[in-house]
Subunit: 246 residues, 2 copies
Amino acid sequence: MNRTLTLNYCVEPFSEDHTGSLRWGVLGNLLLRTASLHAAAHGFGYDDMIRTGHVWVLSRLVIEMDRMPRTGETFRLSTWVPSFYRQFTDRLYTVATAQGQPLGHARSVWALIDTQTRRPLNLENLPGGGFTSVLEPRSVPVAPPGRIHVDTTTPARTLTAGYCDLDINGHVNSIRYIEMALDLLGPERYDTLRPQRVEAAYAAEACMGDRLCLFRQDNSPAEGAVEIRSADGRSLFKTLVAFAPL
Amino acid sequence: MNRTLTLNYCVEPFSEDHTGSLRWGVLGNLLLRTASLHAAAHGFGYDDMIRTGHVWVLSRLVIEMDRMPRTGETFRLSTWVPSFYRQFTDRLYTVATAQGQPLGHARSVWALIDTQTRRPLNLENLPGGGFTSVLEPRSVPVAPPGRIHVDTTTPARTLTAGYCDLDINGHVNSIRYIEMALDLLGPERYDTLRPQRVEAAYAAEACMGDRLCLFRQDNSPAEGAVEIRSADGRSLFKTLVAFAPL
């Protein structure tokens, strides 16, 4: 079986932003969807894992887009797993035109959590070598995630996690945090800029009804960071967004 | 050409709510997407209309779901136009299982607006009879929308319309208002109830950065209404939601 899964998508009506480009939220969920289908095809998808009391948890996500596909445009999304190490596995992505010209790339880091103990498994100790047979040691031209610092002490906005924010596990959807942050870093930036690199770090989960405090830090016109903390001050999520001219 | 467009969809990973059912927001945008493709196939889609300086504007939307499709389930979405009258056209929808068993229905009312004057066209006066040749006079078992009253005077929540809320016209996406309202009507209801009928009325548009004031009115545990008003008190959106046991 091919170690890389490639699926074709189209920028469909009602999946664009106000400039006619694919929405970041839609792209993010398509990355997760394709990852999920790739994992399922290789026997380590959501259903396989939940059966043994485990669940994949997203730890880091970096998306860099040189150009977003435009309304009506067909694009290809490819994903593969290049490596794992102790509690983490990398997963990479390429977004390309229908002709295979790269539009952008993404990298993500996942942990496999025991749903009872909430502790991560050591992926190097899995029976039968674990995911070794799936590995495809090919890289992407995206700098790995670094540490994100948000020093702001006053929340710029507070939100309540709602029914429509949830994923199937009852937690706020990973991509929804990115949308909340992109919203907060506007509106003025979006007249002349577009997100070019979005780096996200996931620390803890939020449930329906939880109060989310959003802290905004503008490093420059072309770079902003957002941290989302719980009402009691725990860090849930951080993101660093680099903008490029429209 | 068939006057009804039917497309197959699947409840894909990351399109479910916390119970494993298709998210209302995803369903809503699929209704609009299918409508858009149906209109384009018959020569009156977004591109056709924008070319002559017109745009379709959603005025009313009612969705009733006896059962939401579940994770991994394939479902069919059909749409057709039964009638038009002066400034408005009806558009109906059926959501069904892969075997054709109805899961729910929807009805919507649209106006065709001149992008310069923002005034609706009289659809009965279009050249060549307008959309007459497309009409499919078949109904759905969904009560038409009524008047929605929200008498609350203190906002339960205020939000700022953000970059990720926008549609291709630069206005808050029609379905996003419904998500904001469903979020506000929780969280406690969603432990035992699910939305069964969502009735939405669109009065005016909001842009990025606009302050949205959400007014909540609980008519009963099984019925809630939400009105969204602009900072200067103009009504933008109203919805009435009926809940059914999970």
